[in-house]
Symmetry: C2
Subunit: 211 residues, 2 copies
DNA sequence: CCCGGCATGTGTACCCTGTCCACATGGAAA
DNA sequence: TTTCCATGTGGACAGGGTACACATGCCGGG
C-alpha cells in the first residue's frame, strides 16, 4: 500500500512484491473468482514483469493458494462481525445466538463477495492447516477456529451433548458452506435477498435443531 | 460408442460429434475436474479438428455445461442406486430411510468421482433448469427431482411438518452438498474412508433431526 | 569505504488454449 | 443430377504459464 501501482517504481527492488501480488490477486479474485487470478495480470497490475512472480511463488497455484488463505481471513472477519460481544446472563441463549451469528456472517460474506468466497474455499486444503496464521482474520483466528470456539461454548452451555461435540465443526460447516455454494453458483442464484435471508434463517434453524 | 476414437474416420461426417465430445469431456472431467475439460483436448481425443466443436457448442463454456449436465445425470443414478425399492409397512421408517439413502448415494458419488462431482456442480445453474432432461439419470429424474420426491414422501408420512416442507430441498441439499465439497477439496481431504463414513452418518443424523 | 555475491527483476522464447475467418466437402433435398 | 448448406479443416492471433539466460543493485564482510 506504500507505492502507487502500475507506475514505474523508483527503486530496483519492489519492497514487498509478495504482498503486492497477493493484494492484486485478491482484487482479481473479487472480480472473477479463482479462475480470474491470473499470474500475468497480477504482475501487470503491480508493474512488474511476469517472471518476477516466480521469485516469490513456485507457480500460479502457489499464488492462488496465498490469495485463498488471505480470503479466508476476510471470511473470518465477516463471521466475527456478526457476533455482538455483550453476553446476557443466559449462557444457553448466548451460545446458540453466537452460533447463528457465525453462520450468518459466513453466508453474508458468500453473498457480498462471491468471488472471494469461492476463492477462499476452492483451493484444496487440509485439516492440519486449518489453523494456519495465513488464514486468520484481524482477530488472529481462522474461520475454523472461530467455529470451533463457538461449538465449545455450545458444549459448555450444555446445549450440545458431549457425545456429539467431536466433529461437530464438520456438520455445522457443511450445512452453511453448502448453502453458500448453492446460493453463489448453484441453483439458488437469482433468488431475491429476502428469499436468501429466509433460507439462511431456516437453514440455521435446522442446524440448531439437529447439531 | 460406435466408432473407434482417435482413429481417422471413414466418413466425412462424424455421426454424432456432439455426443462424442461430451463423452470425451466426461473423461477429462473425471480425471481432473471442470478445469480439465479442455476443448482442444476433447476434439483431439475424438479425432477431429478443434474448430469442429464450434459447430455443436457456442464455446468452451457450452461444452462444459453439457458435460456438467451429463455428470448430474450420473449423480442422479448414484442417488437412486442406494435406495432399495422394497417398502416395509412402516411408511415413516421407509421415508426416513429413503432420505438417508439418497444422501448416502450423493456423497458416495462425491467420493468415488470427485472430478465428475465438481464438474456437475461447478457450472452456474438456475432453479428453473433443475428439472432439465439433460440432467436426468437413467430413471429420467434429475438429482433435484429425486430429492423433491423423497421429501414429499417424508411429508406424506408425517415426518416433515407441512410448514417446513417448502424449501426443504434447499436445506437437505445444502448439508449434504457442503459435506461433499469439504470432503473433496476442503479441509476434509485425507480423512480415511471410515472417518468419512462416520461423518456421513452423523451428518445425515443432523439432517434427520433438524429438517 | 569499497567490493563482490546473491536475491530479486527483466527479456526472450516455447507450448498450450480459446476462438475468429476463410475455405473445403459431400449428403440430402429439389 | 445438381445445388446448397451443415459440418469439418487449416491457418492465424492473442493471452496465459513457465523455463532459461541475463541484468541489477542492495548488503554484509573486508
Amino acid at each position: 500500500m506504500t507505492e502507487t501501482p502500475a507506475l514505474p517504481r523508483e527503486t530496483y527492488r519492489h519492497g514487498d512484491l509478495r504482498q503486492a501480488l497477493i493484494t492484486a490477486g485478491l482484487d482479481l479474485a473479487r472480480e472473477g473468482g479463482p479462475d480470474a487470478v491470473v499470474l500475468r495480470e497480477a504482475t501487470r497490475r503491480v508493474g512488474v514483469s511476469p517472471n518476477a512472480a516466480y521469485r516469490h511463488f513456485a507457480d500460479r497455484n502457489a499464488l492462488l493458494a496465498a490469495v485463498s488463505a488471505s480470503a479466508q481471513g476476510q471470511v473470518a472477519d465477516s463471521m466475527l462481525a456478526e457476533t455482538d460481544a455483550d453476553r446476557s446472563d443466559d449462557a444457553v441463549a448466548d451460545a446458540r445466538r453466537r452460533l447463528r451469528a457465525v453462520g450468518t456472517g459466513y453466508l453474508r460474506f458468500a453473498r457480498e463477495q462471491p468471488g472471494l468466497f469461492r476463492t477462499a474455499f476452492s483451493v484444496p486444503d487440509d485439516l492440519a492447516n486449518s489453523g494456519s496464521p495465513a488464514k486468520a482474520g484481524s482477530a488472529g483466528l481462522t474461520p475454523f477456529q472461530i467455529l470451533s470456539q463457538t461449538l465449545d461454548e455450545l458444549e459448555h452451555a450444555g446445549v450440545l451433548p458431549a457425545g456429539r461435540r467431536a466433529g461437530a465443526e464438520l456438520h455445522a460447516w457443511s450445512a452453511v458452506h453448502g448453502l453458500g455454494m448453492l446460493i453463489i453458483d448453484g441453483p439458488l442464484r437469482g433468488l431475491t435477498p429476502e428469499m436468501i435471508d429466509g433460507a439462511t434463517v431456516r437453514l440455521l434453524d435446522m442446524v440448531d435443531r439437529g447439531i
